[in-house]
């Protein structure tokens, strides 16, 4: 398991727990939920920059298909933005639950990206 995978898991899990935690206690989108999905987005940007550096020729070539990896990353980068916009359509407690999908789905996508790059995520 790479450091990036560990960081990603922690960020996604924290976001998921914050969003879940905020759902019963806030009847509007909680600031902490929004900050937590922003943190996931920030992680993805860092993950992308690091993967870009690897792609440009450090000693860790991608094992899977190059454009599948970048397709996953592009989709993952759009996800927190799309979910944020959707969560703001109706500002109720459910917005927090909607935002919790970011941590869950991005974790799975990072897991898949690690698999594509290294052959295994673990």
């Amino acid at each position: 398991m790479t450091v990036m995978m560990i960081v990603g898991t922690v960020v996604c899990a924290a976001s998921l727990l914050i969003c879940w935690g905020m759902t019963p206690v806030r009847d509007h989108p909680a600031d902490s939920s929004i900050v937590s999905i922003a943190a996931v987005e920030l992680f993805l940007v860092a993950y992308g920059l690091y993967a870009g550096a690897r792609q440009l020729g450090f000693d860790a070539p991608i094992l899977g298909e190059v454009w599948e990896f970048w397709g996953y990353l592009a989709t993952a980068l759009l996800l927190p933005i799309g979910v944020f916009i959707w969560a703001m359509v109706d500002r109720t407690r459910w917005s927090n639950l909607v935002m919790s999908s970011v941590g869950l789905v991005v974790f799975v996508m990072v897991y898949r990206m690690e698999e594509i790059w290294w052959g295994s995520a673990l």
């Binding site: 009847d27 509007h28 909680a30 600031d31 902490s32 298909e65 599948e68 397709g71 989709t75 996800l79 799309g82 979910v83 959707w86 969560a87 359509v89 109706d90 500002r91 109720t92 459910w94 917005s95 639950l97 909607v98 999908s101 789905v105």
Partner: protein, 170 residues
């Protein structure tokens, strides 16, 4: 932490659908419905990406699997759009899409178990959605339950639930 108090009741009252109604109810595409639509949206995106990837990169390796991936993607897109709208026509479209989805995941699930040689590559619905944590199997059931609960006749029940939840809030 700005404590804005935008309650579900406010948004329900403002929506034209409930303007004349005595008891305000949360519309089908709000509240928990937002979450269901989010899940459908995520599956629409991921299954479309998967279908496009399989068709473009792998071409004719597994035509049955790729055709079904494409079908699944179309059904998810249709279901997402229909669930997000509140008209009676959208309700029927959503019901049809969710039923096709249910038949699809059970049918393809069984098919992949009984005749795995037909499926050289996986689809979203292979083995009842195993590759996606069985969410594809659960999602149509939740969608179906949500739709049946939110017919016009079910509005009274929704209003009762609403009153209950506002009591909890206070």
């Amino acid at each position: 932490m700005g404590k804005r108090s935008v309650s579900t009741e406010d948004s329900a009252e403002n929506s034209p659908e409930h303007a004349g109604g005595a008891a305000p109810a949360v519309p089908r595409n709000r509240g928990v419905g937002m979450l269901i639509i989010t899940a459908y949206g995520i599956f629409a995106v991921s299954s479309t990406a998967r279908a496009l990837y399989q068709l473009i990169v792998h071409g004719e390796d597994a035509p049955v699997a790729y055709a079904l991936s494409g079908l699944a993607a179309a059904v998810y897109i249709l279901a997402t759009l229909a669930l997000a709208r509140t008209s009676a026509a959208a309700w029927r479209t959503a019901l049809a899409a969710v039923l096709v989805e249910l038949v699809g995941v059970v049918g393809v699930g069984l098919w992949t178990v009984l005749e795995p040689q037909l499926f050289a590559d996986a689809t979203v619905w292979s083995h009842f959605g195993q590759g996606y944590g069985y969410v594809p199997l659960v999602l149509p059931l939740i969608g179906l339950a949500w739709l049946l609960r939110h017919r016009s006749g079910a509005r009274r029940a929704a209003a009762a639930r609403d009153a209950e939840s506002s009591e909890i809030r206070e």
